[in-house]
Symmetry: C2
Subunit: 408 residues, 2 copies
């Protein structure tokens, strides 16, 4: 069954698909469609909140976060679109830092001059979240367990306060306040970014004019809570994790890599794993039947992806992100549906029924609750073979709907 020809065909197919991000579940991707990348070079900036108080009542001195923007803030400061990022994402939503960057920001296909989120018209801004996964990625600026407590000079570790999606929103609001921006033309984000978008609209209905949640629902349900627990298990099992106290020693990279393998697979769809890899072996001549270290190709690919991503990530940050997502329901602190009912801004929901993390039913239920008191809700379904990840790599399919929604 493993003829050289089918192997070659599979490798060609794999190579083609590796040009979109196998290496991470929800990662920066090459732009799709005919449009060029957002043209001006992007400059990462940073904001420091001198004292940030969490929803849980704890304080974080010198909360510093990275941000970037595309387009120009108008004089009225009313042309602002906030992009909130996903679990393993960053504020790099569009454009390139240098002309020879291998790839632009993850949603470059829809953000730029003349694109659906038109930077000739809008000032688009994106912010690295606190406890950002990619804390060791040089383009990420964040504050979390791996960063230094300004008073002790040592990493916070697990003494860092637990944060919620609402806290993420408050950091973004602090930045916008510093920039003198009091209203958002729209807030849009994918996956964990959609949770921030719901939270913005639920918490500040007077500041948010439009909401575009992509591949996400209005609360973390029991199933997602359980999966997020299981995502973190490999980290907790790695002896190098040491209860989160590893900054003076060896970081738990094996556990983190396994956790990222799981996220990668969970964010995909069987059509991808079967179509690209099938039952191909990782190494010709090393039959997986002959040893536990003889792998199938998809096992080796996930190993590589997990290890590559782990190199710029932090295990404690991963666990803090899992916790923030588990704790989420729109309108933090009220009844389960109160936040969704508080949303006044029109909503454009974008999702795919092939999503294993935020299933279509949960998204439709979210839409129905928001709509139940008269708030306009429009739903666009993406097509593709990548599952959850289609919300990143296939977003251009919703380009016309996004353009029209922003123009209304």
């Amino acid at each position: 069954m493993h003829t050289r020809d089918t192997r070659r065909a599979r490798r060609a197919a794999r190579a083609a698909l590796l040009s979109v991000p196998l290496s991470l579940a929800l990662a920066p991707v090459l732009s799709s469609g005919p449009a060029a990348a957002y043209e001006p070079l992007v400059e990462k900036q940073s904001v420091t909140i001198p004292v940030f108080t969490t929803q849980g009542g704890e304080t974080i001195p010198e909360m510093t976060l990275g941000w970037e923007s595309y387009g120009t803030l108008n004089a009225a400061r009313d042309n602002v679109i906030l992009i909130t990022h996903f679990f393993s994402g960053t504020s790099h939503a569009a454009g390139r830092y240098a002309a020879d960057d291998a790839a632009p920001g993850y949603w470059d296909s829809i953000i730029g001059a003349g694109k659906p989120i038109d930077t000739d018209r809008f000032f688009v801004i994106a912010v690295d979240t606190p406890v950002n996964l990619g804390v060791h990625n040089p383009t990420v600026i964040t504050t979390g367990p791996a960063t230094l407590h300004p008073e002790t000079g040592a990493p916070w570790g697990m003494d860092f306060p637990i944060l919620t999606i609402r806290d993420f929103v408050e950091t973004q609001k602090a930045l916008l306040d510093q920039l003198g921006i009091s209203r958002l033309h729209a807030v849009m984000g994918a996956s964990m970014g959609s949770l921030q978008a719901y939270e913005w609209a639920a918490t500040y209905p007077d500041k948010v004019e439009r909401v575009i949640p992509v591949i996400g629902s209005g609360w973390a349900d029991g199933d997602l809570i359980a999966w997020l627990n299981i995502w973190g298990a490999p980290i907790r099992l790695d002896p190098d994790w040491n209860g989160g106290d590893y900054y003076a020693g060896t970081p738990p990279l094996r556990g983190l890599a396994e956790a990222l393998k799981l996220v990668t697979l969970h964010a995909q769809h069987p059509e991808w794993s079967n179509g690209v890899f099938g039952r191909a072996w990782a190494d010709e001549g090393r039959d997986p039947a002959d040893g536990f270290d003889h792998l199938f190709q998809i096992e080796a690919a996930l190993d590589s992806a997990g290890a590559a991503r782990a190199a710029t990530s932090d295990a404690n940050h991963f666990l803090y992100l899992c916790k923030a997502n588990q704790l989420f329901y729109a309108g933090h602190g009220g009844g389960l549906y109160d936040g969704l009912l508080a949303i006044e801004a029109p909503v454009l929901l974008i999702h795919t029924d092939e999503d294993l993390i935020f299933p279509g039913d949960a998204v439709r239920e979210t839409g129905a609750i928001i709509k139940s008191d008269g708030t306009p809700v429009e739903i666009v379904e993406l097509q593709g073979t990548r599952g959850h990840l289609d919300g990143v790599v296939s977003i251009a399919q919703a380009g016309a709907a996004i353009r029209a929604f922003l123009a209304r």
Copy 2:
């Protein structure tokens, strides 16, 4: 949002559902429907194969396996139905070992006097697989890494040969040969049991008269291969696993418990996790927002289920089972579809579209391939909220179809 009433209602719902096996993904269950349990007490027996040669060419001296049967073998020895078990299952398919057993075997709802698999007519036999997960369960008799090599007197550990689903079939054939049984009226199994059923029909088309694969497809595809890798990751990360060499020390129970949590969740469906647990807290007064050890109820339930199951299981056996499942495609050793095309016996495929481990598309594709050369294939879809697990707990829905299929 966490009122006492909604908590109470959720607890009642949880208690009701815990009477079916939350504690393991695919475990013995209470019978459903009006029929009583298979009545005569069941006696576990054992068979020893003096020298078993694996498909990989290695030999295992004294392969001893448990088996049990229900009904009476007729004089012609042609009334035999073989039941093959799932990943975390055993040969205890029906009946009770003692009158006060809490629950009968897992498919008791369809096996017994007057039931669809009628023990007044059929001799139903089930065999513990080699490398059975529940090697420390006193009712399981198996041979694998945790059992003693007869020559060294020490556990085999990772020196135990890698086995395939075809090897499992060969152990069952050796038992049937010893009993003088040369033909099967039918072979039926769920999940990993369905793989054995396909393999029986593909390898011995002259010995198998009917096949009933439940919740399984004709090959492990790339997606399942990847998930099986990830199922095993927590074990490999547990320092007590020690490369599989732990029988003289502490077994990797934490890793094994995490692996079993993952299997448990994967074999369920969101309707279950959301319907039973939702966002309820594990402990009143311990808000999950206040600490990493403050859990949601579903996290605590999965922790308990994983730990309980780990106590009677073995980590290396888990990894050998993952490998056997990864290596599976019907007709071991030929082309990918050759085995399915070799099946001559009529096939009754039972599955559910809510299955996350063996999705409906894969099952339908399997059926289409078998049918393509004229072999009769009938498909029954189960309804339910338990996903993959409905193939065990809701099998009675297919009772009439099974009865009719066996009578044809």
